[in-house]
């Protein structure tokens, strides 16, 4: 192949597409991002909150969108469709049609005058048709790009030229262009990533739900909009019929999922259980009284992700009701209420009345996408999702074309983000020789020297829709800010993080010659970088900035005390103003990057990550605790799709062994780690000192072995009791002893979802069912019983479950109050379990008892997390930087995680995550230098006594005593800005830049000013 192109086409501007685009653009590739609607953001932008952290969806997404919208190496093509993709891997020719916007994006200032004047009201598709928009519109308030568009299907002028044209008349920027024409772009790219997302299932056909007939039956997506502050009722949860706040709400699960009867969607949509619980939790918060009666009707509760089970537990504790029932009918009741009829597990028929019914609709592929896939020659599966395999989870049937997100299978946001990074990795793997060949470089304007200027502070107070403004009197806060010393400008914004406000902020900084900026909005933990970059773009140093957290730490926590919350907001603004007044411009430090990686753990995750990096030419040190490569995969029979693991593993291992770039250390662990991103030095137990720029932690997990206690079930006592992996090993050996058995019993959730290990192990349901099917393959006459709590065969795995039921495998549900009892009578096993449906005890006599035991974190993960300064969850798994949007990054820069040390997951997700980790690591390795901490310690030599307290307490050896002067000096490359030295210093001689005592005290003292 000749030199591949250095650019990539990403189709679909949802979170997956955006993530793939950012990963690629940040590691040296030019990206064309094609989005069919007028703005990127996809389905995630329509959500109110995200589970399990209840993060405001728009809030966490917005910075990424803005980053994407502003990225120099991302060519955003909205209102665009891919017409054709010709050529092959490394050199594709793509035709893209961009439909006319009829508004010149260069001119539009998003002032909204056009929409105000536009006489044509149109159902707003962003609000799922629940609200109206105009024919000239913004997709949503934080839309990126924040440019209006005219809807040609509804515009009066475009239909009958000369009839209207109000928008053109009122536009102050002369941006309306009725003559706009479709454009066709010819793009030459090396790879294509499809991130086309999903379409919520349309339940109109399911008449029993009443959807379409009964006003107060809404889909979950509609309900998201009803909850959303930017939605049709500004977040004041109202039901459609009478705009009253619903007091009693039902969620009906599996509408359009797990339904082969009416909906023809046999798969599970994976996310609905969690989003329904989330909606129930959020609905309660939204309600004025805080006392919404919320009931979820479900088949199996599928809370199989990280932090999900705890979320479910908490929801139950909070009083949200869960009924295991598939609702039979929703029928009208008085007052536009809804009667819901369902059967209890024991068969009794119950009826309950609700104010509102929410249908938890499933995820499906848009028919237009199906057509596009066909056009592009991308194979779809029977559920119309892109066909991938467990071992190649983001590869489509066409070389060089990759897929991520819900197009391949219904999945949640972190999984989509992970796949997006994995897809980016696959593209990078092909295109790496052309890295940085098509990219442009960003140049900020020269920074104004503000040293000598008196403070000119600008304060931007965010309403965050109603997130803040619903509680805090933002206008009063803005008025107040004007009066603070040094403040020369203050303004209230609906969404300060929206692109137009950001641009306007930059303009304001220039116009008003601001030299300090305060944004009173959400938490700096998510939004500080965005605003700081705005400062740079406006020509001032980004450290002349402070945030007042008046949302997460004010409006959200004092919802019922608007007056006190407003006073607190003023305090917080005053504190920020006081602090920023003393802020100094700081240098932008960088650290040179050692362009090699260390991968810890050589299971499938570690091997995949190592190969993914080596394939791009980056040297890798692979550290394995055991004396052979491969990890637990050696014990693993096959994927749920039936691909056998052992041949695959051998191939992986031999590729690693053959690679010149991978230096394998067996029987070795990491003893000590120092340094930071770009410049790590690790000492291995074999004495090797490794210098590396990044590290990927992929140390896996362990299988819980219930040798004693409550979950023992004769494990270790009877030779015919196995864990899943032990049975796999018998499969691998093709153990003939399995063939003549009469009965096998599987017990699920052994040690998972129990008080001491409250999380769900995610993999066991599918694994167990696949094993049961394999046993059936070996001996179709074998009786197989599955004792389960909830079957969690999420996504396409549901087909396995259907197959198992079809093949006569019997499923008996148990709960923690009625555990199965396993005993030995006359040398044979007896299992007794109560079947809740027939309400009777069932006695089984298995020849084989398989325990689907928990996946548990390894005990030594704690030590590793300390070495790399990474956090752990309460369950003992490693904790990523952000549960939703940074699923493979650690909070510690330059360290990534993959595989089971993060959370239990099947091999396809492990592979995707390993590739994602490699992609993220590539962001660092592809550069010569990465930014380093600017907020570092600094020594005032006149005050320093040389006592060395600072050096003693510095964990990074960043402070040492100068031999000549005897005084402290700081290595800014090593300094992390923790300030342990500052607090230790009695002489106030060492301080943190912009976090000195003076600045902190200014904030403290400002807090106490009672006006």
């Amino acid at each position: 192949m000749s030199t591949p192109k250095g650019s990539v086409l990403v189709v679909g501007g949802g979170i997956a597409g955006v993530q793939a685009a950012l990963d690629l653009a940040d590691s040296g590739f030019y990206v064309h991002l094609v989005e069919k609607s007028a703005a990127i953001g996809g389905s995630m932008s329509q959500l109110d909150k995200t589970f399990p952290t209840n993060d405001c969806s728009a809030c966490i997404l917005s910075p990424k969108l803005v980053e994407c919208g502003r990225h120099l190496n991302i060519n955003l093509l909205t209102l665009s469709e891919v017409l054709s993709v010709d050529g092959e891997e490394g050199d594709f020719q793509v035709r893209v049609r961009q439909n006319p916007r009829y508004v010149d994006p260069e001119k539009c200032i998003a002032c909204g005058s056009c929409a105000e004047k536009c006489p044509k009201k149109v159902p707003n598709e962003f609000d799922m048709g629940l609200g109206k928009r105009k024919a000239i519109y913004l997709r949503y308030p934080q839309a990126v790009p924040l440019k209006y568009a005219i809807d040609p299907d509804h515009c009066i002028y475009l239909k009958k030229p000369g009839r209207c044209g109000f928008c053109e008349k009122v536009c102050p920027a002369d941006a309306i262009n009725f003559k706009d024409q479709p454009k066709e772009h010819l793009l030459n790219v090396g790879s294509v990533i499809l991130a086309l997302g999903f379409k919520p299932f349309d339940p109109s056909g399911l008449d029993f739900t009443g959807y379409g007939n009964l006003k107060n039956v809404v889909t979950s997506m509609e309900f998201e909009r009803l909850l959303s502050p930017s939605g049709p009722c500004q977040g004041h949860m109202e039901r459609p019929s009478d705009h009253q706040e619903p007091k009693k709400i039902a969620w009906l699960q599996c509408v359009g999922s797990r339904d082969i009867n009416r909906a023809c969607h046999g798969y599970c949509s994976s996310v609905c259980c969690m989003y329904a619980i989330k909606q129930a939790v959020i609905a309660r918060e939204h309600s004025s009284s805080g006392a919404v009666d919320a009931t979820v009707f479900y088949m199996d509760m599928r809370t199989h992700g990280k932090g999900f089970e705890a979320y479910y537990d908490r929801a139950r504790e909070e009083g949200i009701k869960f009924h295991r029932a598939r609702v039979h009918t929703v029928s009208p009741a008085e007052n536009d209420n809804l009667k819901v009829r369902y059967a209890g597990e024991n068969g009794d028929i119950r009826e309950d009345e609700f104010d509102l019914v929410v249908l938890s609709v499933g995820l499906a592929t848009d028919p237009q996408v199906i057509k596009l896939a066909n056009d592009l020659g991308i194979e779809l599966d029977s559920d119309s999702f892109a066909r991938t395999t467990c071992l190649r989870p983001v590869e489509t049937s066409r070389n060089g074309v990759f897929v991520c997100g819900a197009l391949a299978e219904p999945k949640d946001i972190p999984q989509s983000v992970m796949e997006a990074s994995a897809a980016a990795l696959e593209a990078e793997r092909i295109l790496y020789p052309s890295r940085w060949t098509e990219t442009k470089e960003k140049h900020f304007p020269k920074e104004r020297d503000v040293h000598a200027e008196p403070p000119r502070i600008g304060v931007f107070v965010c309403s965050c829709g109603i997130n803040i403004a619903g509680v805090v009197d933002v206008q009063a806060v803005t008025d107040y800010a004007w009066k603070l010393p040094g403040v020369v400008f203050a303004q209230n914004n609906l969404f300060t993080c929206s692109q137009d406000t950001i641009n306007q902020m930059a303009e304001t900084i220039k116009r008003e010659r601001l030299n300090r900026v305060v944004v009173a909005s959400c938490t700096p933990r998510t939004h500080e970088p965005l605003f700081q970059e705005t400062l740079r773009e406006a020509g001032i140093n980004k450290y002349l900035f402070e945030m007042a957290n008046i949302r997460d730490q004010d409006s959200w926590v004092h919802q019922r005390q608007p007056e006190a919350a407003t006073e607190k907001a003023k305090d917080l603004v005053r504190m920020a103003v006081a602090k920023v007044r003393g802020d100094d411009p700081l240098p932008y430090n960088t650290v040179p990057v050692i362009k090699s990686a260390m991968v810890i753990g050589s299971g499938v995750a570690g091997l995949t990550a190592a190969l993914s990096l080596a394939d791009q030419g980056f040297p890798v040190t692979l550290v394995e605790r055991k004396d052979r490569l491969g990890g637990h995969a050696h014990k693993f029979f096959r994927t749920w799709q039936g691909q056998e693991m052992q041949p695959y593993l051998s191939e992986l291992v031999s590729m690693v062994e053959a690679s010149d770039l991978i230096d394998v250390h067996l029987g070795t662990t990491v003893q000590d780690v120092s340094g930071s991103v770009g410049q790590f030095t690790s000492i291995l137990t074999d004495g090797t000192e490794v210098k590396h720029g990044v590290a990927i932690v992929a140390v896996g997990a362990e299988s819980f072995k219930p040798r004693e206690g409550r979950w023992n079930y004769l494990y270790g006592k009877n030779p015919n009791v196995h864990t899943l992996l032990e049975l796999d090993q018998r499969f691998i050996k093709d153990d003939p002893g399995l063939k003549g058995l009469n009965q096998a019993v599987f017990i699920h959730c052994v040690g998972s979802r129990v008080p001491e290990r409250p999380y769900c192990s995610r993999v066991c349901c599918t694994h167990a069912i696949d094993q049961a099917l394999h046993l059936k393959e070996m001996n179709p006459d074998m009786d197989i019983f599955m004792l389960y709590r909830d079957i969690r065969t999420y996504g396409k795995r549901e087909h396995l479950y259907q197959e198992a039921r079809a093949k006569g495998i019997i499923f008996i549900r148990y709960d923690l109050e009625n555990l199965p009892r396993v005993s030995e009578e006359n040398g044979s096993m007896v299992v007794k379990v109560r079947d809740p449906i027939i309400d009777a005890s069932v006695t089984l006599h298995p020849d084989l008892l398989i325990l689907a035991s928990a996946v548990r974190p390894r005990d030594d993960v704690g030590g590793l997390s300390k070495l790399f300064k990474c956090a752990m969850t309460g369950d003992g798994f490693l904790l990523e930087a952000h549960m939703k949007l940074r699923p493979v990054d650690f909070a510690t820069d330059g360290v990534y995680l993959a595989g089971l040390c993060h959370y239990p997951k099947p091999v396809e997700e492990t592979i995707a995550q390993a590739k994602a980790a490699a992609s993220r690591a590539g962001l660092v390795l592809s550069r010569d230098a990465v930014p380093a901490e600017s907020i570092t310690a600094v020594v005032n030599l006149q005050k320093c006594t040389g006592c060395a307290v600072c050096a003693r307490v510095c964990a990074y050896h960043a402070v040492n005593m100068d031999e000549n002067s005897g005084k402290a000096q700081v290595d800014t490359g090593l300094c992390k800005g923790c300030g342990a030295c500052v607090a230790g210093c009695r002489s106030d001689a060492i301080t943190l830049k912009n976090l000195g005592n003076e600045q902190i005290m200014a904030a403290v003292e400002a807090a106490m000013e009672d006006f």
């Binding site: 209840n54 007056e563 956090a871 923790c978 807090a1007 006006f1011």
Partner: protein, 146 residues
């Protein structure tokens, strides 16, 4: 005086909370994200690490009029900066005992560990500290007056 709490006649304490950026501040954010409600008495000052909080800062808060002080960091072992909270623990242990020795009420100055995932705990601690301080009444001992 437009102080809302005063106009209503009920005294509301003001409490300065020094929270480390990585755990406790994130925990406070999580309390918000999870909508755990707590009294509006806490004024949070974001610091990189509990190890950054010098005793001087705590005294300054009291001198400036804080009715209470809360310092919170990562749980031992969780410090983002490896050991900052261990040093902080020693500094605070001595400071707390010492302040109590000179007659500062034990509930005035509080230290705690709150992780990024402990939103609920943060709300609980904020409520608890507020209640304790409320019982004590306004802080006067180290208050600078003029």
């Amino acid at each position: 005086m437009n102080d809302i709490s005063k106009s209503k006649g009920a005294w509301e304490p003001k409490i300065i909370a020094f929270l480390c950026n990585w755990c406790s501040y994130a925990g406070a954010d999580l309390a918000g994200v999870s909508r755990y409600q707590y009294p509006p008495s806490i004024r949070i000052v974001r610091v990189p690490c509990s190890g950054r909080v010098s005793p001087n800062l705590i005294l300054d808060a009291l001198r400036s009029g804080a009715d209470g002080v809360l310092v919170s960091g990562c749980h031992p072992g969780d410090c983002h900066y490896i050991s900052g909270n261990y040093y902080a623990r020693r500094r605070f242990a001595l400071l707390k005992r010492f302040l109590e020795f000179v007659g500062v009420e034990p509930d005035r100055v509080n230290f705690t560990w709150i992780s990024a995932s402990e939103g609920e705990q943060f709300a609980q601690v904020a409520t608890e500290v507020t209640e304790r301080v409320r019982k004590l009444g306004p802080a006067t001992h180290l208050l600078k007056e003029f």
